[in-house]
Point group: C2
Chain length 230, copies 2
């Protein structure tokens, strides 16, 4: 017995449309890049007609901007909460950040860094937006972690500004790699998990106070940001 209302070919859902179109566009932009994605492809994937995206977005570029904004903003605040609420050794904090990063990788947001990097020169607006909203905050996040470790006497006194970028780099690159060349790398003898563990291994050993791992020496007095040398 066939359904009496056989799925109307046209449905009116004004408020659900933008998010659906954005989700479709995000998937295709990440997969194929901006230029190689036709608006018609986006529409088809979202289950709507060619013209519909233009009712909600000014044009293809406007859709792209919406994709970036929509995908990024939710991700940003998340890490900052963790930083504020965490108590315990800074090494554990970094472990948790790095391992949590593996989940972000698999989420729809995971492909955005590669997308933004690929299109930065063609969309300066987006490049600046991304730098301000993601890169700058990301740096502040890692700088805060490193500073926390130094102040608590867990980490050596390194240049936190530069070191934050070095510490963040392997995570960023993993995200970019997974959405670009990884599918063409047949030699699959490594895993993202193994990579993250090796990362934590070097970075934590490299930041740790010398002799902290069984070679006993007097721990130096913890540094306070306001202490001056008299």
């Amino acid at each position: 017995m066939p359904d009496s209302t056989p799925a109307p070919r046209r449905t009116r859902r004004k408020d659900a449309r933008p998010a659906e179109v954005i989700a479709a566009a995000r998937a295709l932009f990440i997969e194929r890049g901006y230029a190689a994605t036709k608006v018609e492809d986006v529409a088809r994937r979202a289950g709507v007609s060619v013209g519909l995206p233009y009712l909600y977005f000014e044009n293809k570029e406007g859709l792209f901007k919406a994709v970036v904004r929509d995908t990024i903003l939710p991700q940003v605040a998340q890490g900052e909460d963790l930083l504020r609420s965490f108590t315990g050794p800074t090494a554990d904090l970094l472990r948790r950040v790095a391992r949590g990063f593996l989940e972000t990788l698999a989420s729809p947001a995971g492909g955005l860094p590669k997308l933004v990097i690929a299109e930065a020169h063609n969309f300066p607006d987006i490049a600046r937006f991304y730098v301000d909203e993601v890169v700058t905050r990301g740096r502040a996040f890692f700088t805060a972690i490193i500073t926390r470790g130094i102040e608590r006497g867990e980490f050596r006194a390194v240049d936190a500004g530069h070191m934050a970028r070095v510490v963040a780099a392997p995570l960023s690159l993993l995200s970019i790699w997974n959405h670009s060349l990884a599918p063409y790398d047949v030699n699959a003898d490594t895993t993202a998990e193994g990579y993250i563990e090796a990362y934590l291994d070097v970075i934590l050993a490299g930041l740790a106070m010398p002799g902290a791992d069984g070679c006993h020496r007097l721990p130096p007095p913890p540094l306070s940001g306001k202490t001056e040398t008299p």
Copy 2:
């Protein structure tokens, strides 16, 4: 007195053309991306007519492939020579590699990683070529460095395969960054040199044998690849 032969508007230089076209295409592809670069732009920049590139390359995609091959192959062998000829502490070898990387960054080849990553999905041929010729060899290179350090008793016994990727990552990301978002990062409080020094700082401390830096303990016997435990 005007020149009697006033620069002919059309010159015939069959053998110099391909390299000139490739150089122009490389600069534009890296700057704007593949799709946003018109063949006419490439021709204009090379000082030739629209039709000329098609005399030497099958089509735009063929030109792209030529750009990647031509730019990459010279770079690859260089590092491997250094590895073979170097004698001395492995830490110094890594320092030299990382600092030498700063020069590669500024060369025409510096923008290729970003370009290839951005276009990988649209040109699987190129993606596979790049993975085989650059990524795989690059990994072998860093794996060899780490293994050298371990065998000489300078580095801890880490998982060289995964660690090689972690150690290479910050250098790769620096290259990608410089050709994508760096121009939009107004907050120029860090330098590539400072980044590289921070990188060497953590990585070398993270790989070093525990207690190697003034915390005296008995150095472990150097490992030999062929030694078995009886």
